[in-house]
């Protein structure tokens, strides 16, 4: 009985620390929070509010049925006061909301806001991010244009590749049994009722936890006591600061809407859709590109979906994966580098997806490009850490290994480099031959560039390894045993 109550008390204390149930609210904000990067989440909320206002105005005229959806959208466009302006602002603010949410997440990742006591804030924030993507997915269909319907059909078609029960549940949830009519109605309901409600609830929970824990301290400069630095009252100081930021953001959105007004693609019809290459909106292009890799076509589709799911699950579970105590960027080279590679891969896949609509991507080209970007970004990151970041931090000495282990590692390093070199030479020759035989094409040049880059990296690594072994200094034997590339041989072992 005592043990049970002890467990309950521990659970209650854990939840209180994370949720801040007993903490005071609306306390003054710390001075360091006066920085736009600390308010990316708030700007995302501002974008959501603009979405709500413009969306409600359009709801007055929009009819969610396949027969009337496009006509009513066109009516808003052409005949309603400010109609085109409302639709344009709605679209661009939706884009801004997704981009701001992504920036907010990545900033949080890099400055480790997911660490104690903000683990639950991170998880709630990630779910809000998925809901935001859900807004994009459901809202895209509503104008019922050939572009929006074709892209949504591709997305909905992917559901069939999911395991049985999940597939039937999702089909029931978002498509229904009534064809286009129920699909559009359900997308509309999800877009204007379900998702906004879920997002609002999550927003309240997150705001509450933010109030409880306060804004995370900066990770640079001397340590700051958050409580001691709370000197700015919420009203009027922080409120006006935030309103100023929101006004600037709104101003930028309005200007973009004025300069690039939206134009409406043709109405959806099966005949027109047959001539059209479906492509999702930019925020789903990276998933689209993964699904287009040849290895994931047909029977491989569940593998691709599994891969995307693993990425999402890893993002949600980040607080339990990145468990180091330090929040400083300079002391987290591995996770920062992984984050940079993640961003690099997303941009690469999205751009590639944009440039190759409907094309199946050869598996080897995709693997080359993904590995090359990872190597490039990883090398740059570690080079920067070596040059700038970790100098001030005392570094541990090389890992001590036995002679046998040292020899094994030496041999392994050479075998890997030689294998990598052989593959790189082969791929370069292959690319050169294909360019000579078939002329210059984008894919040929990309393959040539990547293989020669990889070859360069292998050659550089080999030279670096030999340099570290001091071949020229005639101390090869000593260095072969010792190899100053991350481990140190202990003779006594």
């Amino acid at each position: 009985m005592t043990e049970t109550s002890g467990r309950r008390a521990r659970l209650a204390a854990w939840l209180d620390t994370r949720l801040g149930l007993t903490y005071p609210l609306l306390r003054p904000a710390p001075r360091y929070s006066i920085n736009p990067f600390y308010w990316l989440g708030a700007l995302t909320v501002v974008a959501f509010l603009i979405q709500g206002i413009t969306g409600i105005m359009m709801m007055l005229y929009y009819v969610p049925s396949p027969a009337d959806a496009f006509t009513s959208t066109q009516y808003i466009f052409q005949s309603v006061y400010y109609g085109r302006f409302l639709q344009t602002v709605h679209l661009y603010t939706a884009y801004a909301m997704i981009m701001l949410a992504f920036m907010h997440m990545m900033r949080g990742y890099f400055v480790s806001v997911h660490k104690k006591p903000r683990e639950l804030m991170w998880i709630v924030g990630m779910i809000m991010g998925f809901v935001t993507l859900g807004f994009g997915f459901t809202g895209y269909l509503l104008p019922w244009t050939v572009v929006s319907k074709s892209a949504t059909d591709v997305g909905v078609g992917i559901i069939d590749a999911l395991p049985g029960r999940i597939s039937s549940f999702l089909s029931f949830l978002i498509v229904g049994a009534g064809g286009d009519a129920t699909e559009l109605l359900r997308f509309y309901d999800l877009h204007v009722v379900v998702l906004p409600s879920v997002l609002l609830v999550l927003l309240i929970v997150k705001m509450y936890m933010l109030e409880a824990h306060g804004i995370a301290e900066p990770t640079t400069g001397p340590p700051i006591d958050q409580k001691a630095s709370r000197s700015l009252p919420i009203f009027p100081d922080v409120t006006f600061y935030l309103l100023g930021l929101a006004a600037m953001f709104g101003s930028a959105m309005l200007l973009i809407s004025a300069v690039f007004p939206l134009s409406l693609p043709p109405e959806y019809s099966p005949q027109l859709a047959a001539q059209f290459t479906a492509q999702p909106d930019w925020y789903f292009l990276w998933i689209y590109q993964i699904l287009k890799i040849a290895a994931f076509e047909g029977a491989g589709l569940p593998v691709a979906l599994g891969l995307v799911t693993v990425i999402f699950v890893a993002l949600i579970a980040l607080p339990f994966i990145d468990r180091g105590h330090s929040r400083r960027i300079g002391e987290r080279p591995i996770f920062v580098t992984i984050g940079l590679i993640f961003v690099g891969e997303l941009f690469l896949l999205a751009y590639w997806g944009l440039e190759s609509p409907g094309q199946v991507i050869p598996t080897d080209s995709a693997a080359w490009l993904v590995v090359a970007i990872a190597l490039l970004v990883g090398d740059c990151s570690f080079a920067l850490y070596t040059v700038m970041g970790t100098r001030s931090v005392p570094r541990p000495g090389p890992e001590e290994v036995s002679k046998t282990q040292g020899r094994f590692r030496t041999a392994l390093a050479f075998v890997l480099l030689l294998s990598g070199g052989a593959i790189a030479i082969g791929a370069s020759l292959n690319a050169i031959v294909s360019v000579v035989l078939y002329g210059t094409s984008t894919s040929g040049l990309v393959q040539l560039g990547l293989s020669t880059t990889f070859l360069g990296i292998v050659v550089f690594s080999t030279v670096f390894l030999m340099y570290r072994m001091e071949l020229a200094g005639a101390s090869l034997k000593r260095r072969l045993d010792w190899l100053e590339i991350g481990w140190s041989v202990n003779d006594s072992r």
Partner: protein, 86 residues
């Protein structure tokens, strides 16, 4: 030292004028809607500068001449761009 209060007064006048103008725009045509958006943007940007001056004045922090000039340039560009939509 920037005469902050004079700038704020000027911006408030600009906000009133742009609001009045926005009120009169016929909001059906594409160009008119673009002009409406530009003047609303002028309004919001002016408000943003006012809050910047207000908060920094209150916190006894220096008001950056660079930021004020950049914002003034932004406002001028917005107002000029409205000519493009006429």
């Amino acid at each position: 030292m920037i005469p902050a209060r004079r700038v704020v007064a000027l911006l408030l006048v600009l906000q009133i004028v742009s609001t009045g103008y926005v009120w009169t725009v016929n909001a059906i045509g594409t160009l008119n809607q673009a002009r409406f958006a530009v003047f609303l943007a002028v309004n919001l940007l002016s408000f943003s500068i006012v809050t910047y001056i207000y908060t920094h004045d209150k916190w006894e922090e220096a008001i950056s001449r660079g930021w004020i000039l950049a914002a003034a340039l932004g406002l001028a560009l917005l107002l000029l761009s409205s000519l493009y939509f006429s």
